[in-house]
């Protein structure tokens, strides 16, 4: 069981695709202009990651080393296309919101990176779990980024939610005459906010490390959370 805990911890924090590995940055930065877009794309990404980790873990014995990358890509691209078509057909509203960002999942580095680093070496359940957790790790970061950018940029949250749930509507948090801070929504803002998030993570890590060290000094075992990457 602790293995799954480690997988979860890795995906959510320690090996977090964005904060720790800096992979999958393009969709992260391009789509996080508001919270709704960010979460929607994040959910689609989770789906693809789970499916591809599952499929490749299942098929890994059949794939020769030399052509593993093309085969992985083939599988991921096929899965993405299937998800894309399925969304188009069955969840048309969501599909319209996400538009071109679904095909873009193919080139999200973390999908391939996880497949190559984890699914190709591990069992079915662990791999699926890894896909899920890595995906969740991606979602919370992109959601946070989207929320901050939307809030600073427009003073709102959940704008555009009506496109998914027609009964709901976005929330104007800051006064209506808030002039907005356009840069937050533009590419530079994406970089700035992500930089601040990473610095925040560094700060938390440093604090945790200090704790561990203090524990050490008092001769207590540190909280064990160590699975090699």
């Amino acid at each position: 069981m602790s293995m799954y805990k480690d997988i979860a911890w890795n995906g959510l924090w320690k090996q977090n695709s964005i904060l720790a590995q800096l992979l999958g940055l393009c969709p992260l930065l391009a789509v996080s202009t508001n919270l709704v877009n960010a979460v929607s794309l994040g959910l689609a990404t989770i789906l693809v990651m789970m499916l591809s980790n599952f499929a490749i873990s299942a098929l890994r014995a059949l794939i020769p080393y030399e052509i593993r990358i093309p085969v992985f890509i083939l599988i991921i691209a096929a899965l993405v296309t299937v998800v894309d078509l399925a969304f188009n057909a069955f969840l048309h509203d969501l599909y319209l919101v996400l538009g071109i960002f679904i095909p873009l999942i193919v080139t999200n580095c973390i999908v391939l990176a996880r497949v190559e680093a984890f699914a190709a070496k591990n069992g079915l359940r662990a791999s699926t779990m890894d896909g899920l957790m890595m995906g969740v790790g991606f979602v919370w970061v992109i959601a946070l980024l989207g929320a901050v950018r939307e809030f600073v940029g427009q003073g709102t949250l959940f704008s555009g939610i009506e496109m998914i749930f027609p009964t709901l509507s976005g929330i104007q948090i800051l006064p209506v005459d808030y002039p907005g801070f356009l840069v937050a929504i533009l590419p530079p803002g994406a970089f700035f906010v992500l930089g601040l998030l990473i610095a925040g993570r560094n700060w938390l890590e440093a604090r945790a490390n200090r704790r561990v060290r203090e524990h050490r000094q008092h001769d207590q075992p540190p909280p064990a959370n160590s699975l090699p990457a």
């Binding site: 083939l74 691209a77 530079p188 970089f191 700035f192 700060w203």
Partner: protein
């Protein structure tokens, strides 16, 4: 002639892949710590991207469109690209093991460099002909390389700066990338004179 020049200039400066189109960020962040490796990655990407644009044009034009198989575009493009990357990787591995090791996980990840899929798809969307596709791919890759080596130059200097502890490394690199993209916004509007 000038249209071709504009395609390249536009791709390098105005719609720089990294700063404006927000594509190819993972290698941009990952392989920019040293100038040499940045140059290597830039060269590899330029080669792959130009090839990918040519190949994808041919595939799209002569295989997919005549057979009404546009839904296979993403798949066929990405598989072609993967194959090109794999070939390049094998060749580099043989000819320059050090470069190969340094580029580490990023060489296979060129495949998932969004730019390498995104630019061929954009070529289709912009209805470029074969030559334009090649030039657009080449120009975008140049823009990527430019961004990468400029960034590497700054990062080499930043390495020695007295940056606050929690911002050292990637955090300040992100902020730097932000200012760079801000600077590239200065080129906004230049493309309306195409």
């Amino acid at each position: 002639m000038t249209t071709y020049l504009f395609i390249i200039l536009g791709a390098v400066l105005v719609n720089n892949v990294v700063f404006v189109r927000i594509l190819g960020l993972c290698p941009f962040m990952g392989v920019s710590k040293k100038l040499e490796t940045a140059l290597g990655m830039g060269a590899a990407t330029t080669f792959v991207l130009t090839m990918a644009c040519g190949a994808s044009y041919i595939i799209d034009r002569w295989l997919l469109i005549p057979n009404q198989l546009e839904y296979l575009r993403t798949l066929s493009f990405i598989v072609t690209i993967a194959a090109i990357v794999q070939l390049t990787e094998l060749v580099i591995q043989k000819t320059s093991p050090v470069l190969h090791q340094v580029l580490g996980i990023y060489l296979p990840l060129i495949t998932t460099n969004c730019a390498v899929l995104g630019i061929p798809l954009l070529n289709v969307a912009l209805r470029h002909n074969f030559l334009e596709s090649l030039l657009f791919g080449f120009g975008s890759a140049l823009g990527f390389t430019l961004a990468l080596i400029l960034f590497a130059g700054i990062r080499e200097r930043l390495e020695a700066a007295d940056v606050p502890v929690h911002f050292r490394g990637t955090a300040i690199a992100m902020i730097t990338a932000g200012v760079m993209s801000l600077a590239f916004m200065g080129f906004a509007g230049l493309d309306k004179f195409k």
